[in-house]
């Protein structure tokens, strides 16, 4: 079996297996899996409105996935995407609300603010890793909590004691009447194009830029990079900064597109953590991230329809979705299985 064929077959088989086990769970709990999956399908692709909402949901996943994938490719494990996304969300919401500028300046400025905030949140663990060798996993996890509670406090400050920021001005919005109309007035916005553009940017940095060559060298083999005269510390910091910027933009999707403001939160959004799975599902490549994010975004959004249309409680739905993702992520098992089948055929 050729490697290419295996690469295509693995995710397909994984999804089918996940669906099967999910069906068993529904059956055992006394619900109709056919109705359940029909509801899931309709929730994702049922009508143009559903499709619009699904795509809208995918955008932040793409950016969170890019953030994790970029760090992975450069030898770092960025678990702080969640926090970077939260600070990015707040920065974009604040710039969108606090300034009055022409759209051509305001929107890019708000996006830039989100990227910069995320970058700053990545810079700190990057600096600590490069200079003091503090492991980035510890720092980024802690930075997540700092982000959550700091942003909650800041929201209170800017809203003078309230629980959410004012709506952003239209000049900073990613909302699109056109996209909304063709999807039956869903909340689909231009964010998906920002996300896809960043997919290209990640590819461009890693595969075309001198910086990407250095970042990958440092990621694969720090010693060889040092031997080749690269500045290892600078590259580690740079990798975290770029990764954080991707995550920050993910927050901008929510601030400038989906919600138009930011409310205080009791807990994490989960998008940043899901970004880890998205990146791994996509094998840390830019296009792979699009695939992973699509799977995640569709399942997450489509699942909302299952309680309504098929009467399946949200808890069971969560289990089913988790199973599907679990099977996709354990593609390794299927890969080994396929290789074995391939070998047997060869032997015959």
């Amino acid at each position: 079996m050729s490697n290419r064929l295996i690469n295509v077959l693995v995710p397909v088989i994984s999804i089918i297996l996940g669906l099967l086990v999910g069906a068993v769970v529904m059956l055992v709990s006394g619900y109709d899996p056919v109705a359940g999956y029909t509801a899931l399908w309709n929730g994702i692709f049922g009508d143009s409105y559903a499709i619009g909402e699904t795509i809208r949901q995918i955008s932040p996943y793409i950016l969170a996935g890019l953030a994790v994938a970029f760090a992975f490719r450069t030898g770092l494990f960025n678990i702080g995407v969640e926090g970077q996304l939260i600070v990015g969300w707040f920065a974009a919401a604040y710039v969108g609300m606090a300034f009055e500028l022409p759209k051509i300046i305001h929107l890019p400025l708000a996006l830039l603010a989100a990227a910069a905030a995320g970058a700053l949140w990545g810079l700190i663990p990057g600096l600590l890793k490069a200079t003091l060798k503090v492991h980035e996993v510890i720092v980024t996890i802690m930075m997540n909590y700092i982000a959550l509670h700091l942003v909650n406090a800041l929201i209170k400050v800017v809203s003078k004691g309230g629980f959410k920021t004012d709506k952003i001005h239209d000049t900073a919005s990613l909302r699109s009447d056109f996209l909304s109309e063709i999807t039956d007035f869903s909340t689909l916005h231009y964010g998906i194009f920002v996300a896809l553009f960043m997919v290209f940017i990640m590819w461009f940095i890693l595969e075309r830029m001198k910086l990407g060559y250095e970042l990958k060298s440092v990621g694969f083999n720090e010693n060889a990079a040092q031997y080749a005269g690269m500045n290892v510390k600078k590259n580690i910091i740079m990798a975290m900064v770029i990764s954080g910027a991707f995550a920050g933009l993910g927050g901008a999707m929510e601030a400038l597109g989906t919600f138009g403001n930011m409310s205080t939160r009791a807990g994490f959004t989960g998008i940043g953590f899901d970004g880890i799975a998205v990146a791994l599902l996509g094998a840390n490549t830019p296009l792979g991230v699009v695939f992973g994010a699509s799977l995640f975004g569709s399942l997450k959004y489509g699942a909302n329809n299952m309680p309504n249309a098929a009467n399946i409680p949200i808890e069971i739905v969560s289990i089913v979705i988790a199973l599907i993702i679990f099977f996709v992520a354990s593609g390794y098992i299927i890969r080994v299985g396929l290789k074995r089948i391939g070998k047997k055929k060869e032997a015959k």
């Binding site: 075309r208 830029m209 001198k210 910086l211 990407g212 060559y213 250095e214 990958k216 060298s217 694969f220 083999n221 010693n223 060889a224 990079a225 040092q226 031997y227 080749a228 005269g229 690269m230």
Partner: protein, 522 residues
């Protein structure tokens, strides 16, 4: 004659590739049987089959005439087969006895019973003249002594057949002589030995018979006494090999590297290079001879900018490069073939092409305005592959997939191609076979003849003697003496490497005095 081990027509296949194809090896009782072959010829595979780590795809193994099925190393142990590994499997901070009983610790009422074991270890040690202290800690004894512990370990477990895997790789000439004496003693006591090596001299001096394998095929078995190194090399490589590297006299000119009173500490802060002075001129190869761990690594790392210097000066050309960063030093005309090609020399997950550009990727034509020009990278890689005979499926192949020799050729190509004034070659031929070694030596001499300076660091005396124009011997972080190869002998170098200086050697020529001093140092 009775055979203690017979491996008949052994076949071992990996995928579609035969690592062993019809290899026959018959070990007589009481002989030293050498297994000779290039790197990747299948020696290790064959021994792993014998040791139960691999199952053969064909052929059979007989022990004392009886057909056996060696399914795992425990079975091999029970059959009396023991392996003395090239890289010692010892726990540094345990004693000799503790290491030997590791895995089958004898207990008395639940308590570890070291005393009886130590007694047994001492007995075996005495019987074979190994002279090992059962209570010494591994980290306190010399490499030669550690190897004896490995030998003891197999004997303790009742081995009748000992496999030595490249046993002389890290020994001094004196230690090698000792090892050979021990091997003969083992034979006297009725053991049989398989010696894996690609060093022809060793084979000539100790073995009774030689089995040669080439590219996985058994070429045949010859009696050592009826053969000669040239014939063995030809059998092993499949073509004529020149041993003595051909080179004309050197014509050194101006000084390119000058090291003054250099002090360098290792990662623990312990001084490894102690007030070292060294000079290398254009048009000469200076060989740095010494036993591993005498400050060579720290010295190279200091010269190349990978490690900070505590005090002293490194001058390259007319520039002071002390504590400059690697790129500044590289741009000042340094080429560096690093000691550890996997750690420093290559990014193994990068393609051959990416690796070929590792030192110059940031310069035109490989990149400009922050963008890489991978077309040029590819072109350059293909040129290196062609010029330096790197056997690869193409520049896109990951460096990891190349054999050691080809990885090394790629690094040498990359470094030599940049036309450096000073080339530092650290263990450039470690683990490579005769063919690749010949190639690499030629390239080093070529550099010299073009008026470049070469600093060659090696643990192999042959190599240092053959290739260098001057030999500087390093011991305990300083240069003991500098000699000209034609005016010295391996014996003399060996003594320098153990820390003796010229005066001591003259005084101690009666032998006894010398022995005492040696034990102090090693």
């Amino acid at each position: 004659m009775e055979y203690v081990i017979e491996m008949l027509n052994i076949k071992k296949k990996f995928g579609t590739f035969y690592a062993n194809n019809n290899i026959t090896l018959q070990l007589e009782k009481g002989e030293i049987h050498a297994l000779l072959g290039e790197n990747g010829a299948g020696k290790s595979t064959l021994m792993n089959v014998l040791f139960g780590l691999y199952q053969p795809d064909g052929g059979e193994i007989r022990v004392k005439g009886k057909k056996v099925n060696i399914t795992d190393p425990n079975v091999a142990n029970d059959l009396g087969i023991g392996m003395v590994h090239q890289h010692f499997m010892l726990v540094e901070n345990l004693t000799v006895t503790e290491n030997i009983i590791l895995g089958s610790e004898p207990t008395k009422m639940g308590m570890l019973n070291i005393k009886d074991s130590a007694k047994k270890v001492a007995e075996i040690s005495k019987l074979y003249g190994l002279d090992v202290d059962p209570y010494a800690k591994i980290e306190d004894i010399s490499v030669g002594m550690q190897q004896r512990v490995e030998i003891l370990k197999t004997l303790y477990r009742g081995a009748e057949i000992l496999i030595f895997d490249e046993p002389t790789a890290s020994l001094t000439p004196q230690e090698i002589d000792e090892l050979i004496r021990i091997m003969h003693k083992l034979i006297e006591e009725g053991k049989s030995i398989i010696l894996i090596t690609h060093k022809l001299q060793e084979i000539m001096s100790v073995s009774d018979r030689v089995t040669v394998i080439r590219k996985g095929e058994g070429i045949g078995t010859v009696t050592t006494a009826e053969s000669n190194p040239e014939e063995l090399a030809t059998l092993m490589v499949g073509r004529q090999v020149t041993f003595k590297t051909e080179k004309g006299p050197s014509h050194p000119t101006e000084e390119i590297l000058k090291i003054e009173n250099l002090v360098v500490a290792d990662y623990r802060g312990i001084e490894k290079v102690k007030s070292l002075n060294l000079s290398v001129r254009r048009g000469e190869i200076v060989g740095l001879a010494g036993i591993d761990g005498n400050g060579q690594s720290e010295l190279i790392e200091a010269i190349t900018g990978l490690r900070k210097v505590k005090s002293g000066k490194i001058i390259m050309g007319d520039k002071d490069v002390t504590n400059k960063n690697p790129r500044q030093i590289t741009e000042n005309g340094l080429g560096h073939i690093p000691q550890d090609r996997h750690k420093h020399g290559l990014v193994l997950d990068f393609s051959v092409g990416y690796n070929a550009a590792l030192q110059s990727y940031y310069q035109k034509p490989f990149s400009s305005n922050g963008l890489m020009n991978y077309k040029e990278v590819t072109k350059h890689a293909n040129k290196l592959i062609e010029d330096f005979d790197v056997r690869t499926q193409g520049e896109h192949e990951p460096a990891r997939a190349l054999s050691g020799g080809n990885q090394q050729k790629l690094i040498i190509g990359r470094e030599v191609d940049r036309n450096p004034d000073l080339l530092i070659a650290a263990l450039p031929t470690r683990g490579l076979d005769v063919g690749a070694i010949e190639f690499i030596h030629k390239r080093l001499i070529e550099q010299r003849d073009q008026g470049k300076a070469v600093l060659l660091i090696s643990f192999e005396l042959d190599e240092v003697m053959n290739v260098s124009d001057q030999i500087a011997v390093i011991y305990d972080g300083a240069i003991v003496d500098t000699v000209i190869p034609a005016e010295t002998s391996e014996q003399e170098l060996g003594l320098f490497m153990a820390g003796h200086n010229k005066n001591e050697i003259v005084e101690g020529s009666d032998g006894a005095v010398l022995k005492e001093g040696e034990d102090d140092h090693v």
